[in-house]
């Protein structure tokens, strides 16, 4: 109840802000390009007036804010999700139209790039889901991504096989998470120490072999092939979404499958029920004969394998060759997406997507000329996340036993 009040207050503030923006909105129109050459039905580009759009958004936002406030005060009800989504949408649309005023905004670029940037985050957050849902905090996502990136590039270079490269990534990610598992389950080391340290360890090892092995013989050890993006017939021709979702590399399609699978197993199967039970209250799980340690090992290791795939997205799925520390903190963002998404793979994926979007936005924007300095624009994804988490998401509670080792008497 308190929560929804906070939400409505935040919303009101943002709505007011949106009115201010309306007041300052420039006259020059924003051209929106939705069509891509491949679409079946060609939608025309259209020009919108920032004024008009601002007006609409501002009013919608105010409406939603008031409605949520009314729910909170009169009905003591939480803000319904649709309201939050509608609100966010209105705000984003207004922001976009204003930022691109006098310029052309190509929707499909905006979206496609967002997904590309989100892929490792989404794989990473899946690893987080599998690991934390079973009660093992996974700070080591960064390390798992990096190990996957390195190994996939190395293997694919040597074997000239993309698929063997992916297998390498799986194994590398699994290996890192297996160490996480052994230390946190068997040796009862603080899971967060292990995670943080594993990241450093993997950075150290990859950098070391990068400079001693890969760089020394680039052509043999670090010139892997790349996955080409495959346009899925028909699907890829859906306006706007088609190019984003269905003109991608095999890794991205793998991600769709993995995402569906993880969600299904976690919430619909016996295995998932047991995993979640162990993550919530291992003693209780133990008392009904669930093998706590085994369950933890298996789930954590599978998660790591997925993160490994995410690593491959940096190399085989994108630029091919491995580069020193190329994941550059994506693992930590994935961790945030995981929490943001309430340990739910789908929501986490959306969080990752939101982040990728904010990041890509500033690329697309600076390309055509941005009204603000790059550093401020670079903050956007991070600031946006804070606003979303603080203003709209609020308190999230993870698996109860995450981080706590299970010791038998």
């Amino acid at each position: 109840m308190r929560q929804s009040r906070k939400a409505s207050i935040t919303m009101l503030a943002l709505a007011v802000f949106s009115f201010v923006l309306w007041a300052m909105a420039p006259a020059t129109a924003t051209t929106i390009k939705v069509a891509t050459d491949s679409d079946i039905i060609k939608l025309p580009d259209f020009n919108v007036s920032p004024m008009l759009v601002s007006a609409i958004s501002a009013i919608v936002m105010l409406g939603v804010a008031l409605f949520v406030g009314w729910l909170a005060v009169k009905k003591n009800r939480k803000a319904p999700r649709w309201a939050i989504v509608l609100f966010g949408l209105a705000f984003v649309v207004q922001a976009l139209v204003l930022l691109f005023s006098g310029k052309t905004m190509t929707i499909s670029d905006l979206l496609r790039g967002s997904l590309v940037l989100a892929v490792p985050l989404i794989f990473g957050s899946m690893a987080g889901v599998l690991s934390e849902r079973v009660g093992v905090v996974n700070i080591a996502i960064e390390g798992q991504l990096l190990a996957g990136a390195f190994t996939s590039a190395l293997i694919a270079s040597i074997t000239h096989s993309l698929w063997l490269g992916l297998v390498g990534a799986l194994i590398a990610g699994a290996a890192v998470s297996w160490i996480l598992a052994v230390f946190s389950i068997k040796y009862v080391v603080d899971q967060i120490i292990v995670g943080v340290v594993l990241n450093v360890l993997v950075i150290g090892l990859t950098s070391f072999f990068f400079s001693t092995v890969m760089q020394a013989n680039q052509s043999v050890f670090n010139s892997p092939p790349r996955f080409d993006s495959i346009a899925i017939p028909l699907l890829s021709q859906i306006p706007v979404l088609g190019p984003m979702l269905f003109t991608q590399t095999a890794i991205v399609y793998l991600m769709y499958v993995a995402l569906a699978a993880v969600y299904f197993f976690m919430f619909k199967t016996r295995w998932g029920l047991r995993v979640r039970a162990v993550g919530e209250y291992p003693l209780a799980a133990d008392t009904v004969g669930i093998k706590v340690y085994r369950t933890r090992y298996i789930s954590v290791v599978i998660g790591g394998a997925l993160a490994g795939l995410g690593g491959a997205a940096f190399t085989l799925g994108s630029v091919g060759a491995f580069g020193d520390k190329m994941t550059n903190g994506a693992g930590y963002i994935a961790l945030a997406a995981l929490i943001f998404g309430r340990w739910n793979p789908i929501l986490a994926a959306l969080a990752g997507l939101l982040f990728g979007f904010a990041q890509n936005l500033q690329y697309v924007l600076t390309a055509v000329g941005s009204p603000v300095p790059s550093e401020l624009l670079l903050m956007l994804p991070y600031a946006l996340t804070v606003v979303a988490v603080a203003g709209l998401v609020g308190k999230v509670t993870g698996p109860a036993s995450a981080g706590k080792p299970y010791i038998k008497s």
Partner: protein
């Protein structure tokens, strides 16, 4: 009975295991060093003709590397006089100062059940504020210096306290927020270093003016050594945190909150206020780390002012089991590794990445005594 349990623990767990843990990680590191070493590679080439060479090369490579690390981190026995010989250990302590301060900050948060990984951002804010004061404020030394240090403390406290405030008011998860705040702080610093706010007018590059001499931490052993008075601030912080967590009433409430928020609430502890307080104090200590950077060693603000101390601090805090003295020890260890790495590289051409490997292995091994005992066939600790 209780006593000799403690004795046993010290004997078995802490002391010996730590030694062996360090040993173990140096062995693994040694393997990598050997792999990377030219002479070893060459010698291995004709291993079967003259295996002796290989082993000789191995020994030279590994012993050489670690000897260099020792000279770089503790005592340089090749130096022509004692005065130069001891300068490495002072470097180690100089590096250890900010790492330990930030580590203490995180320790306070961890003990209170808040997983603050925002040390990086909090260091940066401390450094920015402290730096700004130290560069631009005109005041007599006895005002300027304390003010500059205080500014660092406040900067960190604000950036950390803000996280606590968000958590208290909106329930926002501190892990997300601190991660995001780290990036925001980095880019904000980058931005301000391009604007007149921080950028030195005459410089084309994103650097600030150097801090005024009056604002600097006095060097302890003269200009030949880098160790500065910030070291004592750090020691004071260790004592303070010990008191805070073990003797103070708010520290007691911090820990209660950390273990069981519900019971704390029923016992009348103001949860929200405590969150803010915890994060503010935690941030303040990291902010001091920032101050010791800018007023102690860096002297100018650059985008890299926080180094990797934000992440190091997490490890240091946890490795020190979030206990002040433990954090101090861990901090000095990390300082030594950072100081020694350079010599190892310069003198033995050892790739610097190996230090990261060794560093993380040390932590893993120290954190898992049973593993180390198994590796070295040490007696099991009789669990009391």
């Amino acid at each position: 009975m209780k006593n000799n349990r403690i004795v046993r623990e010290i004997l078995n767990t802490s002391a010996s295991t730590t030694v062996f843990a360090v040993l173990a990680s140096f062995i693994v590191g040694g393997v990598l060093i050997a792999v990377a070493n030219q002479d070893v590679q060459t010698a291995v080439g004709y291993f079967f003709n003259r295996p002796g060479d290989t082993f000789a090369a191995l020994w030279n490579a590994v012993s050489g590397a670690y000897a260099a690390m020792f000279r770089g981190a503790i005592y340089n026995y090749n130096a022509h006089d004692f005065a130069n010989g001891i300068s490495p250990i002072t470097d180690t302590l100089a590096f250890a100062t900010p790492i330990t301060l930030a580590g203490l900050g995180l320790a306070v948060a961890f003990r209170s059940g808040l997983f603050n990984i925002g040390a990086n951002g909090q260091i940066i804010f401390g450094a920015m504020l402290s730096g700004w004061v130290a560069i631009y404020v005109q005041a007599p030394v006895y005002v300027l210096f304390p003010l500059a240090v205080l500014a660092g403390l406040v900067g960190g406290a604000i950036w950390g306290g803000l996280v606590g405030l968000l958590k208290a008011t909106t329930g926002a998860n501190e892990v997300i927020v601190t991660i995001m705040f780290n990036y925001i702080a980095v880019y904000l610093l980058g931005y301000l270093l391009k604007t007149p706010v921080l950028k030195a007018p005459q410089s084309i590059n994103p650097v600030s003016l150097p801090v005024q001499n009056d604002a600097k931490f006095p060097l302890l052993f003269g200009s030949d050594y880098r160790l500065h008075a910030g070291f004592f601030v750090m020691l004071a912080a260790v004592a303070f945190v010990w008191w805070l967590l073990n003797r103070s009433t708010i520290g007691y409430q911090f820990r209660a909150l950390g273990h069981n928020p519900d019971a704390s609430k029923v016992a009348g502890i103001n949860i929200g206020m405590t969150y803010i307080l915890v994060m503010a104090i935690s941030g303040a200590l990291s902010g001091l780390a920032g101050a010791s950077q800018i007023l102690g060693t860096e002297r100018v603000l650059t985008t890299g002012v926080a180094a990797s101390y934000g992440i190091d601090a997490i490890t240091v805090a946890l490795l020190g089991r979030s206990k002040p003295l433990g954090v101090l020890a861990a901090g000095i260890l990390f300082g030594a590794l950072r100081a020694g790495a350079v010599t190892m590289q310069a003198n033995q051409n050892v790739p610097s990445e190996i230090v990261l490997v060794v560093q993380s292995l040390i932590v893993l091994f120290i954190a898992a005594p049973p593993l180390v005992r198994a590796m070295f066939r040490l007696p099991k600790v009789v669990k009391a």
